[in-house]
Every structure is written in structure tokens, then in C-alpha cells.
Amino acid sequence: MTAVTEIDRDGGSPRARSEPAVGVTQLRVMRSEWTKLHSLRSTRYSLLAALAVIIGLGILISWGSASHWDEENPGERLFFDPTLTSLSGIFLAQLAVGVLGVLIVSGEYSTGMIRATMAAVPRRLPVLWAKTAVFALVTFVLMTVASFVAFAAGQAMLASEHISTTLSRPGVLTAVIGGGLYLTVVGTLGVALGALLRSTAGGIATLFGLLLVLPIIVLFLPASWREHIEKYLPSNAGQAIFRVLHEPSALSSWTGFALFCGYALAALAGAAVLLRRRDA
């Protein structure tokens, strides 16, 4: 096979010497997924939208809170969480990030790209790991930056009423980084659901069902049940990490976040099992 050796010789970059000259490795599949990610318009728009929403909405709501501060009653003042207020854009941005996570996988199924992908990486699992890792990394970097920007700008708005906070106060830094972490796991959950359901509509519906609809349904349960269930819902558990003030019944920041990661990993594990088992 002279032709193959020809390619071998071409691949003589310094790194290629430690790796097999031509062949599938986890790192290479990640590079492939990175190329796929940034070469689609939908990626750029969704991530840009998420950034704009986190920062824009954070500023808007912080400004609103400051300008209406004197109208608030003492109870609300007591439970005012300036960090959460400046990060409130996350509640909307999670939809953009989650949908993009679903699309990264379901878009391959709807276009047929998945067949080319699976033919190139017939063991399949490296693709799922690479998609998850690359998207998680990109989301974490961008969303954490957005989170810090939103926090800084929001606190500047709140400072006029002297109700702002700083990163040095207990739990605040965790919450601001937590904004990026929460969105990263939402994106991972999206990837897992996309791979489980192999359909854009199904993946998005399930994701919104878990994050948005489930908490509403639980509201209709008897109060005694609700307090046992509510805090364990994926959204409530995950969102604990970007709150500084926690309700007494809620999970703590890291416990809640760990549970949220658990849900996402369970979905990912299910996706991995099915990916190996199902025909492409």
C-alpha cells in the first residue's frame, strides 16, 4: 500500500511523531469536533446570543433593581441576592446553550453527517466524548467570561443604591464561576439528549421539559411532597451554584451542582450505551 505510506510521510509534524502517523486517536477526534463546531453558523449565533443575553439581561435587571430599590418591601430587601440579580440572564441563556448542545448531535442525524462520522470513527464512543468535551470546554470559557462581565457590570448598577457585593464576600466567587459551570453542564445535558433521542425536536422538548416544565408541574403537588422533591429537580439542583443566598430547604451550592452533574452524566452514559448498540 504505497499510497498510505505517502500520507504517513506527509503527516510529519512534530506531534505526529509521538502519535501514530495516520489513525484515529481521541485527541484527533476532538480536533475534528472542534472544526465541526466552529465551522457552523448556528454555533456562532447561539453562543453569541447566549453571551449577549447574560451580559445584557444582567445589566438591565440590575439597573431595574437599583432604580426600584426604594419601592421594595423589607422582606424582599432581606432576601435580595445581588450576585444572582446580575447573573439572571443565565435563565434565558441556558436555552441557547442547551439547544446548541442538542443540535451538535441531532444536526448530524438530520443531515446524515453521522454516517460519515461513524465511518471515520467506527468505534463511535470517541465521537461522543469528543463532542462533549469540546463543547463543554468552549461553553465553560465563554460563559464564565460572560458571567464575570455580567457580574461586574451589574454590581456597578447596584452600587448606586449601595446594595452591590464584591467577589471577596463568601460564596460570591463560587456563584460567578458557577454561572459558567451551570451552563456548561446544561450544554452537556443537551449533547446527551441529542445523542439519546437523535432528533432535534425530541431533544429540545426533553431538555425544556426537564429544565422548565418539571419545576412548574411540581408546583401543583401537595406542599409536603413538594419540599422533598423540588430541590432535587435538575434545574433547582444545578442553579444552586450561582445563588449566594439559599433557601433553607434547598441544596447547598456544591451538593446541588454535583447532583446536576450526576443527571447529565447519567444521560451521557445512556447515550453511550445506545450509540454502541444502535445502527447508525
Partner: protein
């Protein structure tokens, strides 16, 4: 080299491929022929591990496709269904595939030039015509410079120019010593491209033969004779092994004799001949004869016939 052994695939109740065994050798174009729904695409998907066989197995170059560390360098596949994200450019699509193997960018540019997509390489694939899509598919298949090429109905929907391009490409690859396995539901296409044939119907093997033998065995060996003394010649030719039919007063269709034998008989008896033509059964007819019992849906009514005719 592709080796298929007792391959069976069931989708629920439906048996798409049924105990198929054959081998595809390097150096020649091997046609994979069968009516629609006979299991060609399913077999090809199983060769590259997209679908898992219900039983049996496929070996490519002596191994299971999944076990290769560089599968794109073993088998290049052009599937029937489009396998490319419409939102990406041709270059980025190929780059993404190349990156999985560490294939250098230079090779991506090379295959783009090879299939003649240079001008549109940076455009979104969604706007590509069918022919451009096929070319991109072939570029993806060639990316790893594989020793085996699998193409599922590659000429479907292409214009004559595109069809000729693919035909020549496949012959060229086979001449380089590669294994080329190409499916079609049209015998006429296979006759022009392939040297060897694997014919299936309803998922079962019907024939594994060279195209020349297939054509030979399929031909009815009739000879058309035109002569002003046709009735007289007819008397001389007819025997137990020879049938003669007259389609016009001066035309005979002779089965069972060669044109040489007929010509000699005519000369010996001073019979004038205007025409003496060996007839070859149409390939499409031969193929249909062979697969008659194994087509999925027969066109029973005139309307159904017209509809099939229009769509093919």
C-alpha cells in the same frame, strides 16, 4: 478485498439481507446488482460497520472494519443517502473528517482538486447540486487513499458527463489495483463499468460471475436473417435443436445455429442473403429474467407499470 460470509440482516420482521456470501477481489470493478429493495445498501452499510449484522460477518482486508486504527485508509465509502452537514463548506467537511485520522490539510486540497470542486470548496454544501454532492462524497471516500472503494448507486441522478466521469474514475482506481465495489439497479450501467458481477435479489445471492459470462449466458443466441428466399431457407434450417420464427415474409429469427452455420447452408443451396445478424438479448432483459422471481413488488397493472417506467 472484501469477504462477506453468511451475512444476514433483519429489521424487525423484514429480512433485508439473507445469508449472503461472496468475495470482492482487487484490481477489477465489481458490480453489485439487484432490483430496488434487494439489500444492496444494507449490505454496504454493514461492510463499514454502520449497521450491525443479525448474523454472519464481513471482513475487509482480512479484518473487521471496526478494528482498524485508520479505517478511512482501508475503505472509502460513498453511501446512497447523503452523509454531509448542509451548513458546512466542502473544505470544512473534508477537514473535519481528515482531522479524525491526522490526515494533513494538503490531502484535503488534493482530493478537492481531484473531484473538481475547487471553485465551490468554500461554499455551503446545502447549495450544491446532486452532481456536486456526489463529487464531494467521492472526495470524502478518497481522503484516506483507501485500498477499497465502496459506492452505492453513484450515478443515480447524474448527467451523462458526471456518469462518464465516475465510470472512468472507478476504472482508473481498479487499474491501480484497488478493490472497487459499486452497486446499481441498472444492468446497462454495470455492463459499461464492471468486469465482475454480484447479483442479488431479495437479499439472496443470485449470481457471482464475470460480466462477459453473464452476458453470454443471458444471450438467447438468435440470428436474424433477411432473404428473398426465406421460406426455402427455413425448410433447410429447421431441426430438433433449431427453432425458426418468421417475423416478416422475408425475415427469420433463428435460434440454435451460429451465423456461420446459417451462411454456409445458404451458400451451399444458392440462397441469396441480404442480412445475417447475430442478436444479443438486451442486458436489461437478461437481468430481469434472472431476477424475475426475486423482485419485491411486481408491476401488475398497466398503471403501476407506467409509474415504474417514469421513475426509473
Amino acid at each position: 478485498m472484501i469477504k462477506v460470509e453468511g451475512l444476514t440482516k433483519r429489521y424487525g420482521e423484514k429480512t433485508a439481507v439473507d445469508g449472503l456470501s461472496f468475495a470482492v477481489e482487487p484490481g477489477v470493478v465489481t458490480g453489485f446488482l439487484g432490483p430496488n429493495g434487494s439489500g444492496k445498501s444494507t449490505t454496504m452499510r454493514m461492510i463499514i460497520g454502520l449497521d450491525e449484522p443479525t448474523s454472519g460477518r464481513v471482513m475487509v482486508n482480512g479484518r473487521c472494519y471496526r478494528d482498524f486504527s485508520a479505517p478511512l485508509c482501508e475503505v472509502g465509502a460513498l453511501l446512497e443517502a447523503r452523509s454531509v452537514h448542509t451548513g458546512r463548506s466542502a473544505t470544512n467537511h473534508l477537514l473535519a473528517l481528515a482531522h479524525t485520522h491526522g490526515i494533513p490539510r494538503r490531502r484535503v486540497d488534493e482530493v478537492i482538486d481531484l473531484v473538481g470542486l475547487r471553485e465551490v470548496a468554500r461554499k455551503r454544501v446545502g447549495g450544491f447540486s446532486l452532481g456536486m454532492g456526489q463529487r464531494l462524497g467521492i472526495a470524502s471516500a478518497l481522503l484516506g487513499d483507501p485500498s477499497i472503494m465502496i459506492l452505492d448507486e453513484p450515478v443515480n441522478g447524474l448527467d451523462p458527463e458526471g456518469i462518464r466521469w465516475i465510470r472512468n474514475l472507478l476504472k482508473g482506481l481498479a487499474a491501480e489495483g484497488k478493490t472497487v465495489f459499486v452497486s446499481s439497479h441498472l444492468m446497462s450501467e454495470m455492463a459499461l463499468t464492471a468486469e465482475h458481477l454480484i447479483v442479488i435479489g431479495r437479499g439472496r445471492l443470485i449470481a457471482d460471475t464475470s460480466v462477459a459470462d453473464f452476458i453470454h449466458s443471458a444471450s438467447a443466441n438468435t440470428v436474424k436473417v433477411r432473404s428473398p428466399q426465406a421460406p426455402q431457407l427455413r425448410e433447410l434450417l429447421v431441426s430438433v435443436d433449431v427453432t425458426v420464427t418468421a417475423s416478416a415474409p422475408d425475415i427469420l429469427e433463428v435460434t440454435g445455429l451460429t451465423s456461420e452455420q446459417i451462411g454456409r447452408t445458404a451458400a451451399e443451396n444458392d440462397i441469396v442473403l441480404y442480412e445475417l445478424t447475430p442478436q444479443q438479448a438486451s442486458l436489461e432483459e437478461a437481468f430481469m429474467d434472472l431476477t424475475r422471481d426475486s423482485v419485491e413488488y411486481h408491476a401488475d397493472t398497466p398503471t403501476a407499470k407506467a409509474a415504474t417506467g417514469a421513475s426509473s
